[in-house]
């Protein structure tokens, strides 16, 4: 963070603040570098009392959660104006989606909010399924696996939030704990989808493939998931014990980043920020999707409406998610994972070959050897994809950071006409001004960490 100071017109400093970095004149006024102990000298000067400093925090700053640029207008240590500069990670995913088939879309959307990939994929696929009118035909096994993966993803996402949030406030052990626990979940993702991140595992109509029967060590997959849950149950209290009653942590987060219920309504804030005001609004309870009405869980709330409250909510949500996963494991019955409609069901017969994952040789042997029609059908489905009747839908689900909305418009073709993601990070970042103005510079870090924005989702 570089601190430059622009003096008013006619101002002549009596002594240079730093001999090593003397001031220089520009057409805008005099500019000089202030380092540490010189600060009083500058601020005590009555000519400069009303002066404001504009500080650019980021976009390359270790505590801004990625490429977020904060434009802060300071008076001394007090923030008078805080604005966000975003767009540094804009990759045109929404535009790109319009040039791919509906199925290929999952490969793009999974990269938006890269810490909650399964939520992006599931939201997109639920929207496409609603457009196709096959929502009720999705096999139960596919839905249950989606829930398992989403809840695992919620835990891993919250862990990153606590880990990086802790790191940004100086709690480095919280970071090592958080990333250690997350690693065990990413291992599970790798076993199930083949990838630690950016899975493209959830597809319109179901899943890319079924769960593997065994993990890499020959352990049954359900047992393996249960083992991970047990491990997390044992280890998650480490982070909690470290921070919950920690005087420094409470001092840094209590009363920081305050936004009350009215503010949340006006700014459209959802997720832990909304629940920290005491309103138990969780779409899994209020407007269930993916069969969430079948699971028993609590919606944790706090009434402090500050960064500490959001931290406590995330801690508790992880425990609730583990409970949901256990219930989902009980519901997991054998069955198909793709909709029973050959016009839509993407070939899910995949197998590991010498060159990695691909179509299973058995499937290829069948369509190549016995049925020309099946071969043509496979070819058309993969190259052309399926058509989706014209119309538009808006699908919302409860992502770790808040409500993730997907607006999908089809014009009746094999490719999306328009896909818009309402990413919770994008919307929630609007509250930076409300949370930070009037506070101190150091508290910006705590406030932003409690919003937990992921710039991949903000900029898309």
């Amino acid at each position: 963070m570089s601190t430059t100071y622009t003096s008013g017109e006619g101002f002549e400093p009596t002594t240079g603040p730093d001999e090593a970095a003397p001031g220089y004149d520009t057409t805008e006024g005099r500019v000089f570098t202030v380092s540490g102990g010189d600060w009083d000298q500058i601020t005590l000067d009555p000519a400069q009392e009303d002066e404001r400093i504009v500080v650019n925090m980021g976009p390359q700053h270790p505590s801004t959660h990625g490429v977020l640029r904060l434009i802060l207008e300071l008076e001394g240590e007090t923030i008078k104006d805080a604005r966000c500069g975003i767009g540094y990670l804009h990759t045109g995913i929404e535009k790109n989606l319009e040039y791919r088939t509906w199925t290929q879309g999952t490969t793009f959307v999974t990269r938006m909010d890269y810490l909650s990939s399964f939520f992006n994929e599931t939201a997109y696929c639920l929207a496409v399924e609603k457009l196709l009118g096959i929502t009720d035909d999705i096999p139960d096994r596919a839905t249950v696996i989606r829930v398992i993966l989403m809840e695992l993803n919620r835990v891993s996402s919250h862990l990153v939030c606590l880990a990086t949030g802790g790191m940004e406030l100086g709690a480095l052990t919280a970071m090592t704990f958080g990333f250690r626990e997350r690693e065990s979940i990413l291992d599970l993702f790798e076993i199930i989808s083949g990838l630690r991140m950016n899975h493209a595992y959830v597809r319109p109509g179901g899943l890319a493939q079924d769960l593997p029967e065994k993990d890499d060590k020959g352990v049954d997959i359900k047992v393996r998931i249960q083992q991970t849950i047990d491990l997390l149950r044992k280890r998650l209290p480490d982070t909690a014990n470290l921070l919950v009653d920690n005087a420094i942590w409470m001092g840094r987060t209590s009363g920081i980043g305050y936004v009350d219920l009215t503010g949340c309504m006006a700014l459209g804030l959802t997720g832990p920020i909304l629940r920290a005001t005491g309103l138990p609004w969780d779409l899994r309870k209020e407007m269930p999707y993916c069969g969430y009405e079948r699971y028993e869980f609590e919606v944790p709330t706090q009434t402090t409406a500050d960064a500490y409250g959001r931290f406590l909510i995330r801690l508790e949500e992880m425990q609730q998610s583990l409970g949901i996963i256990e219930q989902a494991l009980d519901l997991l019955a054998p069955g198909p994972v793709m909709v029973d409609d050959p016009k839509i069901a993407w070939p899910a017969q995949l197998a590991i070959g010498s060159d990695g994952m691909g179509n299973s040789l058995e499937h290829i042997r069948r369509i190549m050897g016995t049925s020309m029609e099946a071969l043509i059908h496979h070819f058309k489905l993969v190259t052309e994809g399926f058509t989706v009747p014209a119309g538009q839908v808006f699908q919302v689900l409860e992502a770790p950071r808040g409500e993730l909305g997907v607006h999908v418009v089809s014009h009746g073709g094999t490719r999306p006409y328009r896909v818009h993601f309402r990413d919770p990070s994008f919307n929630n970042l609007q509250s930076v001004a409300a949370m930070c103005e009037g506070g101190q510079v150091a508290d910006v870090v705590a406030a932003v960490a409690s919003i937990d924005p992921v710039m991949g989702g903000v900029d898309r």
Partner: protein, 244 residues
């Protein structure tokens, strides 16, 4: 595989409408031609002359079903109280796939928005998102802005759709009603060039400040360069021969 629709047929009924027992008249907003997204490539499929209308679900008749009737009735009453007849504010109501869309005339958007937020029977406290859609074939109303609203009080979701012509891309900003629309409208301006009148600072948000054009419009190319690999050249995605 591709859905073969006879041109001009009246039998095309959107899937969602069937489930609800409704058969709304389709709203034609453009045409799709050929089998592929690009023209000029060697199309030997024989489908090059194909012309298919793009038919979005049309206006629905009452009863709309579910809470949609309650919202529509409340809105009509509240608007009438403020001296604004429903027909002059709402073009049509479309119920499709279990979701409702109110097509709002742009001059009435602010009144409708304020009513939807403040009326106790409506109470749409949150404007979830504003997203743009560009329909170049929908002459005179090429640019659409879609506002997604959420009522936490009543657990309801509705959608407002506002259209404006390409040569007069203006519509009122709803930031005075829902401050959360601020960034969403900036994004829609950035990507589609819709000017939201009354927005406090309508500047680009995702693209650089000096960027020319509005990238999400349909007439804006995707960009990209041909990729050569082992002698074969693959054109960029928007110039590639692919199905549409």
């Amino acid at each position: 595989m591709s859905e073969q629709r006879p041109v001009g047929s009246d039998e095309v009924v959107p899937v969602g409408a069937v489930d609800l027992g409704l058969a709304p008249a389709a709203e034609t907003i453009g045409t799709r031609t050929g089998a592929f997204g690009v023209s000029g490539s060697g199309d030997t499929s024989g489908f090059g002359g194909l012309v298919r209308p793009v038919e979005m679900p049309g206006a629905s008749e009452k009863p709309y079903g579910g809470y949609f009737d309650a919202v529509a009735d409340e809105l009509e009453l509240a608007l009438a109280d403020s001296g604004l007849p429903m027909e002059s504010a709402i073009e049509r109501v479309v119920v499709d796939r279990g979701e409702v869309t109110f097509f709002v005339r742009r001059e009435a958007l602010l009144d409708v928005a304020r009513t939807l937020r403040d009326e106790p029977g409506l109470r749409f406290e949150i404007c979830h998102s504003v997203s743009g859609v560009h329909f170049p074939g929908d002459t005179g109303r090429e640019l659409h802005a879609v506002h997604h609203l959420l009522s936490i009080t009543h657990k309801r979701r509705i959608r407002l759709e506002v259209a404006c012509p390409d040569d007069d891309p203006h519509m009122p900003s709803v930031t005075s009603v829902w401050p959360s629309a601020d960034w969403h409208e900036r994004e829609t301006w950035d990507m589609f060039g819709i000017v939201f009148d009354g927005h406090p600072s309508l500047t680009r948000i995702l693209m650089p400040d000096d960027w020319p054009g509005h990238p999400q419009r349909k007439d804006y190319p995707l960009g990209g360069i041909p990729v050569e690999y082992k002698g074969a050249t693959t054109p960029p995605p928007d110039e590639r021969r692919s199905y549409n």
